[in-house]
Amino acid sequence: MNRRFLTRALGIAAVSSVALTGGFAQAKDSITIAVPSFLTGGAAGPFGIPAMNGAKMVTDAINNGKLPAPYNAKGFGGASASLIELDEGGGATKQVAEYRNLVEKRNVDAIVGYISSGNCQALAPIAEELKQFTIFATCGTPRIFEEAPRKYVFRTMGHATSDNVAAAMYVKEKFPNVKGYTGINQNYAWGQDSWRDFDLTMKQIMPNTVASDKTQFPKIFAGQYGSEISAMSLDKADLVHSSFWGGDLEAFIFQGAARGLFKKKLGVVTVGGTAAYRLGKKLPDGLVLGARGPYGILVKDRDSVLNQWFVNTYKDIYGIYPSGPAYQYGQAILAAKIAYDKAGSDASDEQLADALRGVTFESFSTTVEMKLGGGHQAATENGYGITKYDSEAGENVVTDVKFYPASCVLPPDGVDSVEWINGGMKGAKC
């Protein structure tokens, strides 16, 4: 009798404990977020390190409840986040293996980051296969959400189409006398997509301009552009478009400036923001400069509480003003907080995805509307300005800054970017 009673009591206790611990999930005290970024290689200095700094700064502030309102609630759905910092270098194959490792062996809760379009392109289907909540922070190719619908993958900044449509619109508005254009872009998805979108937009909105038939596509990280600069100098085009970034951009600016390229032709650099603080006096005046959206030098003086917190805190910690990648990674971390706050720190990947899909939120420097790609791709404004060295302040500034709303420079949801541009950008609200 006693033995039967004891057995039943143990059984009931066991079932109760399972129900309490496993059957009803408890809110977590901590979560782990993997943050891949370029920590080695040519992209580390201008992109990867500022990006990682931005992610760390925002995560620390969230963990300590120090972000300005409305994000001053402590933690990610109350949980404190620890970051796993990863190097994004080594190519897409290595990144796919690393991604699987993060999900299957290290059991991370979320993955937030990635700069390279090639990596994002390769990882999107893997994230879907593994059903892992993932936020791409900086990579630009529009193909990620245009080639297939995604359920677990998000991108919290605009894609390359907006950079190049906005560039063409800025040229039309500020330099209507441009007669022809050429370009120098890296020979991979990013460079090719960027040139394609700029070229197609120019054909639509400035049909009287002539595109050069000798546009340059050097290999990424080539570093030497002597022949390309000569070819562009001899070209009749009076505008040079480039989506170069990082060390390639800086080398091109050095070599081009030494040869008077930017005195002879109007330079349009869509990712110039990363060079603006670093090159100082060596950045030529008069370049049309973008920062892949409303980030970095273009928004340094925006006086919203969130932006001033971001600029001042970053400057205090790292000693320089934040460039675009710092903003973009900070923004992606903020999106993760929004998802966790809504779904709870114990939320499944599916619940986190449901929480972020289609939301609109105020980020540090702009409003982010997750309204493209079925609610997975952000739409933000995009802008350009003209470089000028401020000798009194001892730093570069941008003048004539103009922002174009997201509905002006990005296609409506479900419409392919190329089709949208070729169709005369129907529905664009500028």
């Binding site: 000798k214 070819a231 100098s233």
Partner: protein, 298 residues
């Protein structure tokens, strides 16, 4: 005519850059039979050392002209220190091993040295524009050219002339040719081959370092810059013939001129043309255009 002159100058400028780096690679292979992958590291270390000190001297208010002394000194320091250490501590103990193993060892060294650069110099790029700015620019063939870039052609010519003089007009050249021709016979004739190897490796490293140090003022010196150059250098050395200085010179000129022609006339094939040349040479003359003659051993 303007376009022709521009292509010629662009081609020669790029050839000069290729030759300075690949000359060191081919000398090391010719004498030591080592396919030295870590040659890219000599280039990177030369660039970093030069950029670092040019920047420092500029901050100290020293004359920009000192940058040229820094460039030469950086190449020599990098070659002497890295070349000596690598040869003495690692390669010296591997000469009797299979050549493939030595290639793997130099590849491992390349990866290690890339990471040491990150530790020593950090991830932020270095700018050393002062020497380029000092020499200003000049108009040639209807376009502006930076004089610094043009001086690269002169530096390459000096390196080529120096190598020719060393090999053909000095006792050291005779010794080197003897070792290249037949190592064992050289030893039996009393040549201190290990010493020749050490000096050769240091010399090759200095040339690799010189390439990086001289290019530094025109680029953003950032991590990973040694990777690209080693691929191009291998293409040059394969085209010209491994171990041949003349081959490296001709290979550089062929690749440089064809690349410049492609950039100006058909930019879509710019990447293709370098390796197409290599493929064609490998099909019709696998040993390269100017591979040194090999003795027939009986």
């Amino acid at each position: 005519m303007e376009t022709f002159l521009t292509i010629l100058l662009d081609g020669l400028q790029f050839s000069s850059y290729l030759f300075i780096v690949s000359a060191g690679l081919t000398i090391i292979f010719g004498v030591m039979k080592i396919l030295n992958v870590c040659h890219g590291s000599f280039y990177a270390w030369g660039a970093y050392t030069s950029a670092f000190f040019i920047g420092k001297f500029s901050e100290m208010g020293l004359p920009d002209g000192l940058g040229f002394v820094v460039i030469v000194a950086s190449a020599i320091i990098v070659g002497l220190v890295l070349g000596f250490l690598i040869e003495q501590l690692i390669l010296k103990h591997m000469y009797h091993r299979d050549e493939v193993l030595i290639v793997l060892a130099t590849f491992g060294l390349f990866l290690v040295l890339e990471d040491v650069i990150l530790i020593a110099f950090g991830t932020d790029p270095y700018f050393a524009y002062q020497p380029m700015a000092l020499l200003d620019s000049v108009e040639m063939g209807g376009i502006v050219r930076d004089v610094y870039g043009l001086t690269l052609i002169g530096v390459a010519a000096l390196v080529a002339a120096g190598c020719w003089f060393l090999l053909n007009k000095t006792k050291w050249g005779t010794i080197l040719k003897a070792v290249i021709f037949d190592r064992e016979m050289g030893i039996s004739m009393g040549i201190n081959v290990p010493f020749v190897y050490t000096l050769t490796f240091i010399g090759g490293a200095i040339l690799g370092g010189l390439g990086g140090a001289y290019i530094a003022p025109t680029i953003s010196v950032a991590p990973g810059l040694g990777t690209e150059v080693i691929v191009l250098s291998f293409a040059v050395v394969v085209v010209g013939g491994m171990g041949s200085i003349m081959g490296a010179a001709i290979g550089s000129v062929i690749i440089g001129l064809l690349r410049a022609l492609a950039v100006h006339e058909l930019p879509q094939v710019e990447l293709f043309v370098v390796f197409a040349v290599m493929a064609v040479v490998l099909v019709f003359r696998p040993e390269g255009l100017f591979a040194p003659a090999k003795p027939r051993k009986i």
